[in-house]
Symmetry: C2
Subunit: 169 residues, 2 copies
DNA sequence: AAGATACGTCAATATGGCTGTCCCATCTCC
DNA sequence: GGAGATGGGACAGCCATATTGACGTATCTT
């Protein structure tokens, strides 16, 4: 594949990973990259009177239909009360629906409604555009490195959860 | 430097950058990586009764001493009122001090006090540990790719600001 | 002298987290 | 069958962090 010219301002990483400079560069790029990416969907959310917390729930339900509440709590790492409010908002807007589990009827299985799917897909388009542009500008090998470093930032005990999300789509 | 074996769960990026799978992988790793990294400093902040907003200000003042208020506003992209509260908290705890600009006396130049420097350095240690571990596990080339992709996520109009931060340390 | 700029501050509001407590339905295991 | 564990919901109250809009003061620019 044709790799577009890399952004010229990025020199290669030196082997001295512990040097403060390189750590600060990572901290800053993560901060700006993450915050700018999340801002790219705020407008779409505001049209429905929703915030980023709603998007996170929507996103992970889209990603893994029939997720249970406790699965989602583990993923988002927030309290039941905080998530409850968010899910109530999403149900009230007919974006999410629940069924009780077949094996364990105490569980609630979360799914997006057709409306929810359409809305999540619309928000995802903004993310896709941003990330695809960045991927294309950086090139294939950079994307692999991007993933590897981020995986290393996730504590060991959380990695299985992330891998589980990513194995089936 | 000895590079530990890369995390095995990361296959190489395929050339099809636009595939939904690859975009979702990036979104998720960014989410987990960013949130886990920021959580790593919460404990240190809580000891002083401060939050993440305070750390962000502290961080960028450490990074670029004699920053003005409006510089910091541009970097953080929050409102004057929000920043004002944060800076008042930091001043009250003797972590930040201001002088008025020599060329333009309307400006306030922000600096860390000795206490502020020590505290920022303490928080930075947690970031350094997390990032250095991830860098080492991923390897030098991955780190370069990590940076390149993140730079691509920053809107063009903000890139000069980020580059300016990183050029002098 | 007029206007723009840098900064501060007031009041009101929204969002998204938190803790603690209590409840109900259901499953598991003895 | 009964005890206890688990999945989920809900109450009340609190905190941190962001927002808008308006207004004030000092200082710089022209």
């Amino acid at each position: 594949m044709a790799v577009p010219s890399p952004i010229p301002a990025t020199p290669a990483a030196s082997p001295l990973f512990l040097r403060e400079h390189e750590v600060r560069r990572g901290v800053e790029l993560l901060f700006f990259g993450y915050t700018r990416l999340t801002r790219s969907i705020d407008e779409g959310l505001a049209e429905h009177g929703l915030g980023r917390a709603h998007h996170r729930a929507l996103y992970f339900i889209a990603r893994q239909p029939d997720l249970t509440i406790s699965d989602l709590l583990r993923i988002l790492a927030i309290t039941k009360q905080s998530l409850g409010r968010v899910l109530n908002d999403l149900s009230a807007r007919n974006l999410v629906e629940t069924r009780s589990g077949s094996a364990d009827r105490r569980q609630k299985l979360l799914r997006l409604t057709e409306q929810g799917k359409a809305f999540e897909a619309q928000l995802f388009e903004a993310l896709r555009t941003s990330l695809a542009t960045a991927y294309a500008a950086a090139g294939q090998e950079s994307v692999t490195g991007f993933w590897r470093v981020l995986e290393g930032l996730i504590p060991t005990e959380d990695r299985a959860m992330v891998a589980a999300l990513q194995k089936d789509i």
